[in-house]
C-alpha cells in the first residue's frame, strides 16, 4: 500500500532474507562506483585532483563532474564517457541478489513483474505545473501522490483543480506543514477545514466516528497523513534519483490569518474540490534558484 523499493518488496514477500538483501546491497556498493571513484579508475584524474575538486565544492555548489570541467581537469566529453561507463556497469539490486545466490534468474523475472504491478498505482499521471518553476516533474509527482493517498489512505473522493501560482495562502482552520531538505528543498502544506480534518482522522484512526476525540488527536491525524504522504514522496523521489529528507510534521499557528509565500519562493497551489462543494488545498513553497 506504499511506495517501495525492490529489496523491501522481496523481503515483505518472503522471497529473500534480511541477510541476503544486506549481502546484495554490499555487493552493489562495491560494484557501483561513484563518479569520482570511476573517473580515477578510468585513469582520467588522480586522487590529488579529486581532493582539489572536493575542496572547490565547499565554496561552490557544483556536481563533481561539473567542477572537474570548470577546473580543466577533465573535458565535457570525458564526463560523458564516465557517465556512460557508470550506466553500463550499474548493478541493480535484483541482479545483485542473483549474484549472491538469493534468487534465480527466473525468480527475479517473476518478482520484477509482480513489483511492477504492485507499484503501478504510484506511477504519475500528467499534472501541469506553471512554466519556469524548477524541478517540475518532482512537483507533479508530489501532487499526484497526494491525490493517490487522499483516495487510498483517507478514502476521500475529490476532483483536483489546476495548479496556480499564489502570493498568499488563504486562511483555513487547519494547516499542517512539512519541510523537505536534501537535493530538493521545499515546504509542503495541506490546508483543510474541520470537516475534512475529521474525514482524515476517521481514516487514520480507523474509527467510524471521531466525535469524542480531542482536537489534539484530530489535528495529529492530519499531521500523520502528511507524514505518510511525504515519506512516500521521499521514496518516489529516490527512485527518480533525488534525495529528500523530511522533518517531522508541524501545525501552522498562523493558519487563521493566511500565510504569505516566503520571499524568494514560488507558491504552487493545487485546489482539491470535494463533492459537497467544499475545497481544500495542497500548497508547495518552492525556493527560486
Amino acid at each position: 500500500m506504499a511506495v517501495k523499493f525492490f529489496g523491501q518488496f522481496l523481503i515483505e514477500k518472503g522471497a529473500v532474507t534480511r541477510t541476503a538483501l544486506l549481502q546484495a546491497i554490499d555487493l552493489q556498493e562495491k560494484t557501483n562506483l561513484k563518479f569520482g571513484e570511476m573517473v580515477i579508475e578510468m585513469g582520467l584524474m588522480t586522487t590529488v585532483d579529486a581532493a582539489r575538486i572536493h575542496l572547490a565544492q565547499r565554496s561552490e555548489d557544483l556536481h563533481f563532474g561539473d567542477m572537474a570541467v570548470k577546473l580543466s581537469i577533465i573535458t565535457e566529453e570525458q564526463v560523458q564517457q564516465v557517465l556512460t561507463r557508470q550506466r553500463n556497469s550499474h548493478l541493480y539490486i535484483g541482479e545483485a541478489l542473483v549474484k549472491v545466490g538469493a534468487l534465480s534468474e527466473q525468480e527475479l523475472e517473476k518478482y520484477l513483474e509482480e513489483f511492477k504491478q504492485d507499484q503501478q498505482a504510484y506511477i504519475s499521471e500528467k499534472i501541469e505545473i506553471p512554466a519556469g518553476v524548477p524541478h517540475q516533474p518532482i512537483w507533479e509527482m508530489v501532487a499526484d501522490l497526494t491525490y493517490k493517498m487522499l483516495t487510498r489512505v483517507a478514502g476521500i473522493s475529490f476532483r483536483p483543480g489546476p495548479c496556480t501560482i499564489i502570493k498568499k495562502l488563504p486562511c483555513r482552520p487547519i494547516i499542517a506543514e512539512m519541510g523537505f531538505s536534501g537535493s530538493i528543498s521545499a515546504r509542503y502544506l495541506l490546508s483543510v477545514s474541520e470537516s475534512t480534518r475529521n474525514l482524515v482522522a476517521k481514516a487514520i484512526l480507523d474509527e467510524d466516528s471521531v466525535e469524542n476525540e480531542s482536537v489534539e488527536v484530530l489535528d495529529d491525524s492530519v499531521k500523520e497523513f502528511i507524514n505518510i504522504v511525504c515519506g512516500n514522496i521521499a521514496a518516489k523521489a529516490a527512485q527518480l534519483g533525488h534525495s529528500i529528507d523530511i522533518a517531522p510534521p508541524e501545525m501552522r499557528a498562523d493558519s487563521n490569518t493566511g500565510i504569505d509565500v516566503p520571499q524568494d519562493h514560488t507558491g504552487l497551489m493545487f485546489p482539491i474540490y470535494l463533492s459537497d462543494g467544499e475545497v481544500f488545498e495542497l500548497t508547495i513553497f518552492v525556493p527560486q534558484n
Binding site: 506504499a2 517501495k4 544486506l22 487514520i204 507524514n227 529516490a238
Partner: protein, 119 residues
Amino acid sequence: MKSVLIVDDSLAVARQLEKIVSSCEDFKVVAQGRNGAEAIKLCQQHKPEIVCMDMNMPVMDGLTALRNLMQLTPELKVVMVTSLGGVGDKYTEALRLGAKDVISKPFEKDTVLKMLRRL
C-alpha cells in the same frame, strides 16, 4: 506473552499500533514513547522484548535511537514503523543498525501482526 514498547510522535499512530498489538494475546503493550530519547529511557525502565518505533521524530530520530538501543541491549528486537520505509537508504541503514524489520506506513493490521509473530 511478549512485552512491546511503542514509540511514535503521532498520537494517532501510537493508538492505532496499540490497538493492533493488544488485539493479539501473544503481545502486551508495556509503554509508549513520543521520541527516540523517550524510547531509550522507557527501554531501561520496562525492559520490553520488542520495540515498534517510528523513524521521523523530533528530539531524537528513530535511527539514532536504534543505534543507541542496539549498543545498550543487542538482543532487543526492534521493528521500525515508518513512512520512510520505501527510501532504500533508510531501509538499509535500519537493517544494518540491527532492526529486525521495517514496516512502511500506511500499514495494515495483518502486516504488523505477521511481522511481530516472525520475531
